[in-house]
C-alpha cells in the first residue's frame, strides 16, 4: 500500500501558509519589541530602563504555552477578546521579543565603548552615533543569534495548535482523523516540513550575515 501523499498536499499547504503567516506576524512583533526593550535597557532614563528590564525578565520567566492559554482563554474575562491569530501572534511575539531584547542589548553594549568615544570625537550627535556608528556594527553581531531565535519562533508557532488555529500541526491532526492508519507517515512528513522551513530561515540568516559582513 502506498501512502496517499498527494491527497494530503492541499491541506498541508493550507496549514503551512497559516504557520508562515503566524511566524511572519509574530516575527514583526518580536523584532519591534526586541529593539524597543533592548535599546530601552541601555537608555539613560531610569524609568525606560526599568520598564524594559521588567518586560524582559517577566516574559522570559513565562511559559509560552501558559501565556498563550491565558491570552486566549482568560483575557476575554477581562473583556479583551482576541482572535486565535491575534492571540497567537501576541503571545509568541511577546515571548520571543524578550529573548530578542537580550540579543540587541548585548550586541549594542559590545560595540559601544571605544566606538562611542570615537563618535564623540568626530562631533556626532547621540542619534547619529547610534544610527551611523553603533547600530550597523551591532547589527552584524545580531544576525546569527537572531537567525537562531527565528527558528525558535517557528517552532513555537506549533503551539497555536492548542488554541485550534488551523496551522500546519493542526491540519496534520485533521489529516490523521481522515487517514488514521497513516499516522506515522503524517507526523514524519510534518517533522520534515518544519525542518525545511527552519532550513530556509538559517539559509536567509547566513546570507544576511555574509552581506552585512562585507560592510564591516
Amino acid at each position: 500500500m502506498n501512502a496517499p501523499w498527494l491527497d494530503w498536499l492541499p491541506m498541508l499547504l493550507d496549514g503551512t501558509l497559516i504557520t508562515i503567516q503566524v511566524a511572519l506576524l509574530s516575527a514583526v512583533v518580536s523584532i519591534v519589541l526586541s529593539a524597543l526593550a533592548g535599546l530601552g535597557s541601555l537608555s539613560r532614563y531610569a524609568v525606560v530602563r526599568l520598564i524594559s528590564r521588567a518586560y524582559v525578565e517577566l516574559f522570559r520567566a513565562c511559559s509560552l504555552l501558559v501565556l498563550l492559554f491565558w491570552v486566549y482563554f482568560a483575557l476575554p474575562f477581562l473583556q479583551i477578546e482576541l482572535s486565535k491569530l491575534m492571540a497567537g501572534v501576541l503571545a509568541i511575539g511577546l515571548n520571543i521579543g524578550a529573548y530578542g531584547a537580550e540579543i540587541v542589548r548585548s550586541s549594542v553594549s559590545a560595540v559601544s565603548g571605544g566606538q562611542r568615544e570615537a563618535g564623540i570625537a568626530l562631533n556626532l550627535s547621540g542619534t547619529q552615533r547610534m544610527l551611523r556608528v553603533i547600530l550597523p556594527q551591532a547589527a552584524v553581531r545580531m544576525v546569527p543569534p537572531f537567525g537562531n531565535l527565528m527558528i525558535e519562533l517557528l517552532k513555537s508557532t506549533s503551539l497555536v495548535y492548542f488554541i485550534t488555529l488551523s496551522d500546519l500541526t493542526y491540519e496534520a491532526m485533521v489529516l490523521r482523523n481522515n487517514y488514521y492508519v497513516w499516522t506515522p507517515y503524517i507526523f514524519g512528513l510534518l517533522l520534515l516540513i518544519y525542518f525545511l522551513i527552519s532550513s530556509c530561515i538559517s539559509l536567509v540568516s547566513r546570507l544576511l550575515e555574509r552581506r552585512l559582513a562585507v560592510w564591516r
Binding site: C62, F69, F73, S198
Partner: protein, 226 residues
Amino acid sequence: MWDSEYAAQLLPAFLPAFAVTIGATITGFMLAVLFGLLFAIAGRSAAAPVRWASRSVVEFIRSTPLLVQAFFLYYSVPMLTPVAMPAFATGVLALGLHYGTYMSEVFRSGIDAVPRGQWEASTALHLSKRKTWISVILPQAIPPVIPVMGNYLIVIFKETPTLMAITLVELLLTAKTEASATYRVFEPYTIVGLLFLAVSLIFSLGIRRLEKKWSFGRENEKGGLR
C-alpha cells in the same frame, strides 16, 4: 472578577499536577544532560560517519518543534514498533532529546575551553579514550558551564506544558480540566500562570547567584535561552 473561594477549591487539584510538572522537569533535565553529553562526545568522534550522524541528528531535532516530536514518539512510534511508552516516559524522552541537542552545544563550548595541552598530556600518559574523557576532559569542561545548564533546567520547566498534548496530566492540563468542568477559566489559568512565573523567577535568581559566586561572566549561548 476574581473568586477567591473558587481559587482555593482548585488548589488540591493543582498539588499532584505540580508534582508531575516538577517530576517531568527533573527527569527531562537529567535525560537532556545525558543525551547532551552523548551528542557532544559523538560530535567529536574520530570516525567521520559518527560525527556526521550525530551532527545531523542534532540539527534535525533542533529544527523541529518539541510538540511534533512528542506526537511522533507518542502516536507514531507504537504503530511502527512494538514499543508503546506511557505519556510520562514519552514526554520526558522528548524533552531529553530536544534539550539534549541544546545541552550538547553547552558541553561543546565547555570542552572547547579545555586547553589542547590536556589532550596531549593524556595521550602522553597513555590514557585510554574513555579515561581521558572521564578523568581529564569532562571534570574541567563541565563546572564552568553549570550555570548555563541551570538555565536549561528553567527552560525545560517552562516547556513541560507542551506535554499536555500527549495526555500528561501536568499543571496546565489540570487547569484546563478544571476550567471545562466549571466554565470558569480565569482563576485556573491565572493561578497556573503565576505559579510558572514564580518558580522560574526564583530559579533564575538562584542561578544568577550561582553565576556571580563562581564569577564566570560568560555570555549565554547564542539564542539558546529558550
